[in-house]
């Protein structure tokens, strides 16, 4: 390393006056999202592990449990595989939670959040940028998972537009859950804690649901929990939109109006957790 040359600053640059409002929020969020996407390409193993996990679930559930599961009156493993996919898709998108949480906790830990907070940028942009980048990663994972699903015999039966609507609901759910992850990431003390804290609660949420089994086979007290689980609404909606077997005949409201319920739940989660996370961000001290 040679000696530092005299760093006399010939160019005087002053910070432009912030535009403020929604334009600035969107711009700043996109700048941060771009940063996170560049990061992801520099750590490809993160993306790859993120993809291997759901593929592994497909294979394990299809072939280990497939033969022992009864969906409606059928015990055909093919029927179970078609039933299973909506559940795996939904579970996969919710795993974005852990990524968002760990990423934000890491930024806090490394002092990047302090850097951002000392800049004249829109308040929510650091978190919005992160959740948007996670959404892109989730979408990529869903594409890979779709290919695997087609390989193991899953099909859509209601036409492409409806199937795309199903995927849109999945991404909306994933986006909503990444805000929960953002709040977890801001609340814990280390990135490691954010990873495990971002994951453990997902297991009850995704298992006490209609994702992997027919919830009508659950004990009576557990059924309403499974049926009102925000996660179940999206799974049910996807089964309907994909035309897959095992649509719950339950007369619980979220099961009967699954598409609407899925949207409402996701929007509610975004509103609540975005508010909490942005508030937390503003006072983040570590």
């Amino acid at each position: 390393m040679s000696a530092t040359t005299a760093p006399t600053d010939a160019v005087q640059v002053t910070a432009p006056r912030p535009r403020g409002g929604i334009v600035q929020s969107v711009n700043d969020s996109l700048v941060v999202a771009k940063r996170n996407l560049i990061r992801m390409t520099r750590i490809p193993e993160m993306i790859i592990f993120g993809m291997i996990q759901p593929v592994m679930f497909v294979v394990l559930f299809s072939y280990v449990f497939g033969g022992s599961m009864q969906i409606g009156s059928s015990t055909d493993p093919i029927v179970y595989r078609e039933f299973l996919m909506a559940g795996i898709f939904a579970q996969t998108v919710t795993f974005a939670t852990a990524g968002a949480g760990a990423g934000i906790a890491d930024d806090m830990h490394k002092g990047l959040i302090d850097r951002f907070r000392s800049l004249p940028m829109a308040r929510g942009a650091v978190l919005t940028g992160r959740t948007l980048a996670d959404l892109v990663q989730t979408a990529l994972t869903v594409v890979v998972l779709t290919i695997v699903a087609l390989l193991v015999g899953w099909r859509i039966h209601e036409g492409l537009p409806k199937a795309l609507a199903g995927f849109a609901l999945l991404l909306l759910l994933g986006y909503a859950f990444s805000w929960i992850g953002a709040l977890i990431g801001l609340s814990v003390r280390t990135p490691e804690a954010a990873t495990s804290g971002g994951l453990i609660w997902l297991f009850p949420v995704t298992f006490i649901s209609n994702a992997f089994v027919d919830s009508s086979n659950m004990p009576g007290w557990l059924q309403p929990i499974a049926e009102w689980n925000p996660f179940s609404a999206t799974v049910q909606a996807c089964r309907e939109l994909f035309g897959n077997p095992g649509v719950s005949p339950s007369d619980a409201w979220p099961m009967e109006h699954s598409v609407l319920a899925s949207i409402l739940w996701s929007v509610l989660i975004i509103v609540v957790f975005r508010t909490l996370a942005v508030r937390k961000y503003r006072s983040a001290t570590a």
């Binding site: 005087q12 711009n27 002092g111 951002f116 004249p120």
Partner: protein
């Protein structure tokens, strides 16, 4: 007229800990204030308040003429923050980092790109511009961090322990960069544990301990408070301590301090170099063999000890866990960050 950085009665408590206990500061435009003190003294908390990262419980803060508590976003346009807590993204290249910061200062993508290129040249990082910051050496990373703080030529800069963990050579280089900056008219608040660093860079020094400013003045003023010069002798063998002491008593203006294990004797004197020559002659006459002898002026270390009754280093270790306020966790995070910076 208040200076470019002005604080009055800043108080911040974390649980039972009074991290700031009424801090007053006034830094005239274009000068450097060194905030000197051990870990846990409140240096970092002060910087966090002045850079809008932390709300004080009470007090007033004005930076670049703008009220920090009322208009934090206006303040953010006028400051640059660098040091142990403001980091760069290690997976982004140097160029990408600076571009991102520029854009978040609300520059257009094109301006930010141009500016990034200029800064990379200026900080001698052009060759490494398109490598991830992860691959940078500790010194390069600090320079990138400093460049990120200078993306908009802020009139007021804050540097929190800018050279902690750097080797002497990189420290020297960073000092040069900082001096250049200040000669351009930037007002700078610098925190440091290195007394030498404050001595070297700061026009004025505030010594803080337990959340309070316990002394302020120029380096010379603070040294003058501690007293004048001393003669220090290191004798070759322990048996010679006693005859050496007798010699020094004859010349000194006070008692002789003896450190047995290092065979070092210290005595306050007046008379400078001429006296030193006499001391050497007399020691020679008595046959005292010396390893080292010198006339020492007080260092800021001496100032610190005389003000607080303890050395900066020891205190730093004792208080390491109590850390300004960020709790044990923060301290741990900081430690590991320091380690990774090495």
């Amino acid at each position: 007229m208040p200076g470019a950085i002005y604080a009055e009665g800043l108080v911040k408590t974390f649980g039972d800990v009074r991290a700031l206990d009424g801090v007053d500061l006034d830094v005239p435009e274009g000068t450097v204030l060194g905030l000197l003190g051990p870990n846990g003294a409140g240096k970092t908390t002060t910087v966090r308040v002045l850079t809008t990262l932390l709300q004080p419980d009470s007090g007033k803060a004005v930076v670049a003429g703008i009220d920090v508590l009322k208009h934090p976003n206006e303040v953010r346009r006028s400051i640059g923050l660098s040091g142990q807590f403001a980091a760069v993204d290690e997976y982004l290249t140097g160029r990408e980092n600076l571009q991102m910061v520029g854009q978040l200062y609300q520059m257009s993508a094109r301006d930010a790109k141009k500016r990034a290129g200029g800064l990379l040249e200026r900080f001698n990082l052009a060759d490494a511009a398109d490598r991830p910051a992860k691959t940078y050496s500790g010194g390069m990373r600090r320079r990138l961090d400093l460049a990120a703080a200078l993306v908009v030529s802020p009139p007021v800069m804050f540097m929190d322990e800018p050279t902690t963990g750097l080797d002497p050579r990189n420290r020297q280089q960073l000092w040069e960069v900082i001096q250049e900056l200040v000669s351009g008219g930037t007002t700078l608040l610098l925190t440091t544990q290195y007394l030498e660093e404050a001595d070297h860079l700061a026009h004025n020094i505030c010594v803080v301990d337990h959340g309070k400013v316990i002394a302020r003045g120029t380096s010379d003023q603070l040294k003058a408070r501690t007293g004048g010069e001393r003669v220090e002798v290191v004798v070759h063998e322990s048996e010679q301590i006693s005859p050496a002491r007798e010699v020094l008593l004859g010349f000194g203006k006070g008692d002789v301090a003896i450190a047995e294990h290092t065979r070092k004797l210290t005595v306050p004197v007046t008379g400078g170099a001429k006296l030193l020559a006499e001391v050497i002659r007399e020691l020679d006459v008595r046959g005292v063999e010396i390893d080292d002898i010198g006339l020492r002026r007080p260092t800021l270390d001496d100032v610190f000890i005389s003000l607080t009754g303890h050395a900066a280093e020891t205190e730093a270790e004792e208080n390491g866990e109590a850390e300004d306020a960020r709790g044990a966790q923060g301290a741990k995070a900081k430690k590991s960050r320091k380690e990774s910076a090495k």
